[in-house]
């Protein structure tokens, strides 16, 4: 009985597909492009990760060597350390700030909301090349405006981009500045889904705005915050444009701003070790997958 039901269902499915073949035809370009430009490279790079290949010419099978090599690969390990440091430097602060800004913009007390929203979102849509060059100029040790400003308070010029720890902080600052608006808009969308009646009810019960923020906003925003943090985690590991331009295509002072994807790019396209670069991609995939699972477990809703 159940089997027959299954078969009828399958037949129905095929019938439905046949019936809707024209709509399927219309959406097929996406799937064809996806298969050619995303799926195929993904599978091919998995295959490549077991070979030594310089980008052209013959490939040499090396088994798991590319993967085992990663355990002793100093720049790769350094890039992971950098990603962890960067993550803790900017993600908590940026997410919190985005939430506060979103709450302010969502509240009824603030005027000119769309103006503020636009201004905070503007860095995200500004060309990254221009932004990063501007930061490079601002932070220059000898000619930068930041040091000029500090000099008015009698502070000696600071080598912002030329000291490992400061360079990472500058990078975190740039990333925060650029991605704050994006996170804020995501969180704002979440906030607008919270029914205002909840706040009204809390108000009637005598809750202060702070109390309703911590008791209503924060718990209800958890899924949205989790989403933002997940995106930031992936974003930190795949950070590329900002460090690439800010530090003249290098990894920054003593590889302090070498992000995993920047190292992947260098390994593949500058050092021509495409097998090794592919293995880095898959190692990063596994690491991100595990971190994602962990974050969902810690922050996710309990059923």
């Amino acid at each position: 009985m159940a089997k027959q039901g299954q078969r009828i269902k399958e037949e129905n499915l095929f019938k439905k597909i046949r019936k809707n073949r024209i709509p399927y035809l219309f959406i097929s370009p996406f799937f064809i492009l996806f298969a050619i430009f995303m799926l195929y490279p993904t599978i091919y790079s998995f295959y490549l990760s077991f070979f030594k290949w310089s980008g052209a010419g013959p490939k040499a099978y090396v088994g798991l060597l590319n993967y085992t090599d990663l355990f002793t690969n100093r720049p790769f390990k350094q890039s992971l350390i950098n990603a962890v440091i960067l993550f803790f430097e900017y993600v908590p602060g940026m997410t919190l700030l985005a939430l506060i800004l979103a709450s302010l913009l969502n509240s009824r007390y603030l005027g000119l909301q769309s103006v503020f929203r636009t201004f905070i979102f503007l860095p995200y849509v500004t060309a990254i090349i221009a932004v990063t060059y501007a930061f490079q100029l601002l932070l220059d040790k000898r000619f930068g405006m930041v040091n000029l400003f500090l000099s008015w308070f009698g502070i000696e010029p600071v080598a912002w981009l030329n000291t490992p720890n400061l360079a990472r902080i500058c990078l975190s600052g740039l990333v925060t500045w650029r991605w704050l608006g994006y996170n804020m808009v995501l969180l704002l969308a979440g906030l607008q889904n919270i029914s205002p009646e909840l706040y009204d009810a809390a108000k009637v019960d005598g809750a202060t705005p702070t109390q309703s923020f911590f008791r209503i906003t924060l718990p209800l925003m958890k899924p949205m915050l989790l989403f933002c943090i997940l995106l930031s985690t992936i974003g930190t590991v795949s950070l590329f444009d900002e460090p690439f331009i800010l530090f003249n295509a290098g990894g920054g002072p003593r590889d302090a701003t070498l992000t995993p994807v920047l190292y992947l790019y260098n390994t593949g396209f500058r050092y021509l070790h495409f097998g090794s670069a592919s293995s880095i991609a898959y190692a990063l995939f596994i690491i991100l997958f595990l971190i994602g699972l962990f974050e969902i477990k810690v922050m996710g809703e309990k059923k």
């Binding site: 310089s54 980008g55 000898r142 000619f143 003249n248 002072p253 500058r270 021509l272």
Partner: protein, 430 residues
């Protein structure tokens, strides 16, 4: 009926004529694409016009890309096996990578009459392991010491080249000058940042002593005594704050060269062109050039930085035509000297080095015939091999030299020993 047949025949004949005419023109006209960057176009436009006139059946189509785009696109084209240009311009520092990829055509036979007539320092990058040649060297980057006449005067030194030269006879002399410049003017002896740069000056100074990343057998020798001595020298200058800590090719670096915040800069001949054309055109008359200081008595007063080459790809449809083009332009003294004049392109073709052109005084350099110094330096450029691992070795070197410059590793020897060890694991060299 007869008319119809006549019509048919005449249509057929006319159509045939068209076909023949069009295939004929296809056969006669070869189009060769070449990828290179703005510099080439600027320097070679008149030469290419002449070539088109003399060889009407060959058409050169230039595709102007940034150097890094040339390399990225070429790599993609080679691995895809499609969209490969017929010829491509490559810097020496990148050439060996593409030789090892196997996408360039072997031009050993064609090059043989020119082999002895070209800067010998160019060959290691253009050859594979078997000694086959894959590129025509085009320009070289002999190095000398540029200096600011105004800064020297400010520090109480004479400023004409003849009196400056004995002042900076050795690198130790330059260090003493640097101290004096610092105390008298607060300015720096030359720019070399501690971080965020590829340490080209460090490489140039090693190149002067035939010490580099690898020796002639391809073994890693970045921890050699000569390299250690060079890094120690830079370390001493960093410690005493004699070097301008600003990475090259950033706004701060341009500003420093323009404002005369550095007294000297050991650099290649092409920098001179950059100085007068866009870095500091207003500083005309303030710059001078003297040969490089030496490391020991009778040392070589020469080094090299940069330089490019032209290659035919394996995929090239008409290698004979491509070679005709290369021979026409890059073995022609007149064209190369024109390029030198307009774009400060120092030809690798030795015949150009003794041309009266090098004795012409140049106003920007205070009326000095500064090209002569570079032409002399080019004759004695020491041996150096970039190898296909250059970029990886350079990025490893950066890390350890930065660590040393920041004082986190105390000794230059330790820094370079660590760098050498990592280079050996990463490149699989000895």
């Amino acid at each position: 009926m007869g008319r119809k047949i006549r019509m048919l025949i005449s249509t057929f004949v006319v159509a045939n004529l068209f076909v023949i005419a069009s295939t004929g023109s296809v056969l006669a006209k070869t189009t060769l694409t070449v990828w290179w960057w703005q510099f080439w176009q600027d320097a070679l436009t008149p030469a290419i016009e002449d070539f088109h006139q003399d060889y009407p059946e060959i058409k050169i189509e230039q595709e102007i890309l940034g150097p890094s785009d040339v390399y990225a696109n070429l790599l993609l084209a080679l691995s895809a096996g499609a969209g490969i240009p017929d010829m491509v311009g490559l810097e020496s520092s990148h050439l060996t990578q593409y030789v090892s990829l196997g996408g360039l055509a072997d031009i050993t036979e064609e090059m043989s009459p020119w082999y002895d007539k070209i800067d010998q320092g160019k060959w290691p990058a253009a050859k594979d392991k078997e000694g086959r040649i894959y590129a025509m060297p085009v320009d070289s980057g002999p190095v000398a010491l540029y200096y600011r006449r105004d800064v020297f005067e400010e520090a109480g030194f004479p400023s004409n080249p003849d009196s400056v030269q004995p002042l900076v006879d050795t690198w130790d002399d330059l260090y003493e000058v640097g101290k004096q410049v610092k105390t008298a003017t607060g300015k720096f002896i030359f720019p070399q940042a501690k971080t965020n740069n590829d340490f080209r000056i460090f490489e140039t100074l090693m190149w002067q002593q035939e010490a580099g990343y690898v020796d002639r057998e391809g073994k890693i020798v970045i921890d050699s005594p000569k390299a250690v001595r060079t890094l120690e020298y830079l370390g001493k200058l960093w410690k005493e704050d004699l070097l301008l800590d600003t990475p090259a090719w950033t706004a701060g670096w341009y500003a420093a060269l323009d404002a005369g915040m550095v007294a000297t800069i050991p650099n290649a001949i092409w920098l001179g062109g950059f100085l007068w054309s866009w870095i500091c055109p207003e500083a005309s008359g303030k710059w001078g050039v003297v040969p490089l200081p030496v490391w020991e008595e009778d040392g070589v007063r020469s080094s090299n930085d940069g330089g490019s080459n032209i290659s035919i790809t394996k995929a090239c449809g008409n290698k004979e035509a491509a070679w005709e083009f290369i021979k026409y332009i890059f073995t022609n003294k007149e064209y190369l000297i024109d390029a030198w004049r307009t774009a400060d392109w120092f030809p690798s073709l030795m015949a150009c080095w003794d041309d009266p052109f090098v004795d012409e005084p140049v106003e920007f350099f205070g009326g000095q015939a500064y090209r002569k110094i570079f032409a002399e330096a080019a004759k004695v450029i020491p041996w150096w091999d970039y190898t296909k691992d250059y970029h990886e070795m350079n990025s490893i070197m950066q890390v350890y030299v930065t660590t040393y410059a920041l004082g986190e590793i105390e000794s230059a020897e330790e820094a370079l020993t660590k760098a050498a060890a990592e280079m050996r694991t990463r490149t699989g060299r000895e």
